[in-house]
């Protein structure tokens, strides 16, 4: 009996030791948020282990059309993509990890009512990442195809 109690004590210390080892390291830098930008929709990609949230300003948000969003001057879209990892606190759950890219799409108007799009990609350090024209076009298409999530 004594031995069992002792084992129990030892086990307890080992367990306590483990919890210390995987101490929580908070990462506020994973949180994205800008005044005036609200969530339009979100999604994830299990194959790529990423998840994303599309944000937009008021003009962008009020324009959730059926098939493709129409581009209106003044719209600002930011598509934030995170790495995704298993939730460290719940087996079966997945949660976003660090920010991989922020894609920024701004719509403006040039001279004769021509709508102009300005698209670029940054990493979390605000360094601009190179994309060729066809890549840019396909990402603009992706953003325009996002339907707004239903909120209550």
């Amino acid at each position: 009996m004594k031995i069992k109690i002792l084992q129990c004590f030892i086990a307890h210390f080992i367990l306590a030791g483990c919890t210390h080892a995987d101490k929580t390291i908070l990462a506020p830098e994973f949180v994205f948020g800008e005044e005036n930008l609200h969530v339009i929709t979100s999604g994830f990609n299990r194959r790529k282990s990423t998840n994303f949230t599309l944000y937009g300003n008021a003009i962008a948000i009020n324009n959730g059309s059926d098939s493709s969003r129409s581009l209106l001057p003044g719209q600002v879209y930011k598509l934030v993509t995170w790495k995704q990892k298993p939730n460290p606190y719940w087996f079966g759950g997945y949660i976003n990890d660090e920010i991989l890219t922020i894609e920024i799409l701004k719509v403006s108007q040039s001279g004769n009512r021509v709508v102009q799009t300005d698209y670029h990609v940054e990493n979390s350090k605000k360094e601009i990442l190179h994309r060729n024209d066809s890549e840019k076009q396909s990402r603009i298409k992706f953003i325009r195809e996002q339907k707004a999530s239903v909120f209550p």
Binding site: A21, V31, W90, V150, P152
Partner: protein, 322 residues
């Protein structure tokens, strides 16, 4: 040492010690006579699963979470018998493998994932129980069998995704439904920051978790245990649509919204967190009695070291020892 060894040698003190021992012994005997006996009511709706899965639960959990409690002789000795009886009573109340059919298949699925996560966290079977019932311990191989079992179960239930037409808001619905504990629905969170974006295999849903300024500040300043009063966290849950050709999964129908409001003076029964949940686009308040929040906090106790919050942004340590 403060004990005067001579004290035990002296005749009168020997007598005194003897008397005390007799009283203690009589007390212990008395406790044995009055010791609580555990009844095993009939098994009415037994848990069903493949044999290798069921046998793990039978060996490790049935002593407490079923009507087939098989006690060892030392479990029947006071004072242990009192603790065992209390544990069995509480465990059967939480869920019971012998009356498994009395809960809905959806609740059964939730409980099974709860079990796997309790085992993984080392909370179940109760450590004080496995310390003496060594055979009840669950090995790593058994835990991975259970993980595969629940993953396959949920894949069957939710793998196809939500293909129903996406319903939109019906504006005529009363705008601020109220939970039985007094927490009303509000939609200020739509302008808050999203602190986490999550999705779950176990129920085919995806979520956005919003935090108010106090919550975000607490994360920035790393003061989350305890979270400051005034912190509010809102989780919006959608069903998943089927994965598209590129592997992307998008939210389908809105499912529910859940809230946690920190007020250490008001919500003293639930670690200072007020809980509320509103289901469906009609935002039907969840919970028939105020005690519903106790079941919320019980599961959230798995993350007591994070101030009872699961979805916080965390960096994985380079050399995590697990």
């Amino acid at each position: 040492m403060f004990i005067d060894m001579n004290f035990f040698q002296s005749n009168s003190s020997r007598k005194l010690t003897g008397i005390i021992l007799i009283i203690l012994f009589a007390g212990l005997i008395g406790m044995q006579v009055a010791t609580p006996s555990i009844q095993n009511p009939a098994v009415s709706g037994e848990f069903k699963a493949p044999k290798e899965i069921k046998s793990i639960f039978e060996r490790s959990c049935y002593d407490c979470h079923s009507n087939e409690t098989k006690l060892q002789w030392f479990d029947k000795l006071a004072p242990f018998s009192y603790m065992v009886a209390a544990d069995v009573r509480e465990a059967r109340k939480r869920y019971n493998f012998s009356t498994w059919d009395s809960i809905s298949p959806a609740d059964q699925e939730v409980k099974l994932w709860y079990m796997v996560n309790m085992i993984e966290a080392g909370k179940m079977p109760l450590p004080q129980y496995t310390a003496v019932h060594r055979k009840a311990r669950i090995t790593d191989e058994e835990l991975s069998l259970l993980k595969t079992y629940v993953t396959q179960l949920s894949h069957r239930n939710h793998g196809a995704g939500d293909t129903a037409k996406i319903k939109v808001v019906n504006k005529s619905i009363a705008s601020r439904p109220k939970s039985i504990n007094g927490i009303s629905y509000f939609d200020d969170y739509k302008s808050w920051k999203v602190i986490a974006s999550t999705n779950r295999l176990d129920n085919g849903t995806m979520r956005l978790v919003y935090g108010n300024d106090i919550t975000v500040k607490a994360i920035n300043e790393k003061t989350i245990n305890p979270w400051p009063d005034g912190a509010i966290i809102v989780k919006v849950v959608w069903n998943m649509q089927p994965e598209d050709g590129e592997g992307t999964t998008k939210p389908g129908n809105f499912n529910n919204v859940q809230m946690m409001i920190k007020d250490s003076k008001k919500f003293t029964d639930t670690e200072g967190w007020g809980f509320a949940r509103f289901n469906g686009l009609e935002l039907k308040p969840y919970g028939n009695t105020v005690a519903f929040a106790v079941s919320c906090i019980n599961c959230h106790r798995l993350v007591s070291k994070n101030g009872f919050v699961f979805d916080i942004p965390t960096r994985t340590p380079e050399l995590a020892i697990k």
